[in-house]
Symmetry: C2
Subunit: 188 residues, 2 copies
C-alpha cells in the first residue's frame, strides 16, 4: 500500500519541521506559533496581512492569535497599523528585525538547504505534485488554499501590462503575484 508509505514519510517530514522550528524559536524567545505567524506575514499580500487572515491560515481562533501577535509586537518583530478605509481592520507588517529572523529560521529548519541540494527539475515536479495534493485536500475538507497569486484562478496575466486580480480588479506587480493570498483558489 503505497499511499500509507507516502503518508508516513510526509508525516515524519512535518514532525521534523516542527521540531526544528521549535528549537529555533526557543533560542530567540519565541514560541513555535509565533514563528509561524511571523513567517506567514513575510509571505502574504496586502489582502491577507490581518489578524483574521493569520488565524485562518494557522487554523486557530482570532482570540488566540491576537495574543500571539501582541507578543510579537511587544518584542519588536512586527508593527500594527489601522487600515485607512476601514478602521476596524488592523494591518500587520514585520519589522526589519522580524524579516531577518524569518530568513534565518528558514535555513535552520533545513528543508530549504535540503531542497537546494536537489535537482531543480525534480523540485519543479515535486512542487506541482504538492499543489495537486493540496487542491485535492482542499476539495475534500473545504479549507482555504492560501496559495500565491500566480497560481490562483483569479489572477489575470495581461502580458506587458502586468497582472490583475480578478476578484478586486486591482493591478498586481511581478512581486505581488509571488505572495500568499487568503482568497486564493486553484484553477479548475
Amino acid at each position: 500500500m503505497s499511499t500509507q508509505e507516502a503518508n508516513d514519510v510526509l508525516e515524519r517530514l512535518c514532525n521534523l519541521q516542527r521540531m526544528e522550528a521549535r528549537a529555533f524559536g526557543l533560542r530567540y524567545g519565541l514560541q513555535p506559533v509565533q514563528m509561524e505567524a511571523l513567517t506567514y506575514l513575510t509571505q502574504c499580500n496586502r489582502y491577507s496581512n490581518t489578524p483574521q487572515a493569520v488565524a485562518e491560515y494557522l487554523g486557530l481562533t482570532k482570540g488566540t492569535v491576537s495574543q500571539s501577535l501582541k507578543v510579537l509586537e511587544q518584542k519588536g518583530f512586527l508593527r500594527k497599523q489601522a487600515d485607512k478605509q476601514d478602521k476596524r481592520i488592523v494591518r500587520l507588517a514585520p519589522t526589519m528585525k522580524g524579516s531577518n529572523l524569518v530568513k534565518k529560521a528558514l535555513l535552520a529548519r533545513s528543508l530549504e538547504p535540503a531542497l537546494a541540494m536537489m535537482d531543480s527539475m525534480k523540485i519543479a515536479e515535486l512542487t506541482s505534485m504538492f499543489r495537486s495534493i493540496l487542491r485535492k485536500m482542499q476539495k475534500i475538507n473545504g479549507r482555504k488554499a492560501f496559495g500565491a497569486c500566480h497560481t490562483c484562478r483569479f489572477n489575470e496575466d495581461h502580458q506587458k501590462n502586468g497582472y490583475v486580480c480578478g476578484l478586486t480588479r486591482e493591478p498586481l506587480s511581478v512581486q505581488d503575484v509571488q505572495l500568499i493570498c487568503r482568497e486564493h483558489q486553484y484553477p479548475q
Copy 2:
C-alpha cells in the same frame, strides 16, 4: 526561485495536516500531541514502543511525553507493560479502541484520501523524493530518521528465509519490516 515555492507549499500542507488533526482529536477529547503519539505507536516496531522513543519521535522531553501517555492510558487508548528483560523499560501498545481511532483520524486528515486519488506511479515517485529530502535533512540537522525497516541500511533481505535486523541480529517478518524503527538509518 523554485525551492522557496516548494517550501511554501509544503509548509501549507503541514499546516493543513495539523489543523485537521487538531479538529479531529478535539471531537474525541484528545489533544493533537496525544493523537500524534498514538499514531506513532500504531506504526512503530518492538524496539521503538517506549516513552523515550515517543519523545524522540515527537521532539519533546520525556517528562512531557510521560504526561500525554498517562492521559492516553487513562482514557483506554493504550496499555503499559513492564519489559521482561529490563524492568526500567515500559512497553506501550495501543488498544483496539486506540488503533480504531488512528484509522479514522488518518482518513479525516484528508491527505490519505487525496493521495488515493493520485496515480500510483506518481505516489511512488513522490515517496522516493520525500525520502531523499528526509535523508538530506537528517544529514544537515543530525536528527534520527524514524523510517520503516525495509528502507533501513541495517535491514538484510535473506530472500526465502525472511529478513534480519543487522543491528540486533533478530529475524523480522514481512509485517515487521513495514514498521517504524527508532534506530533507522537510510542507506549510503
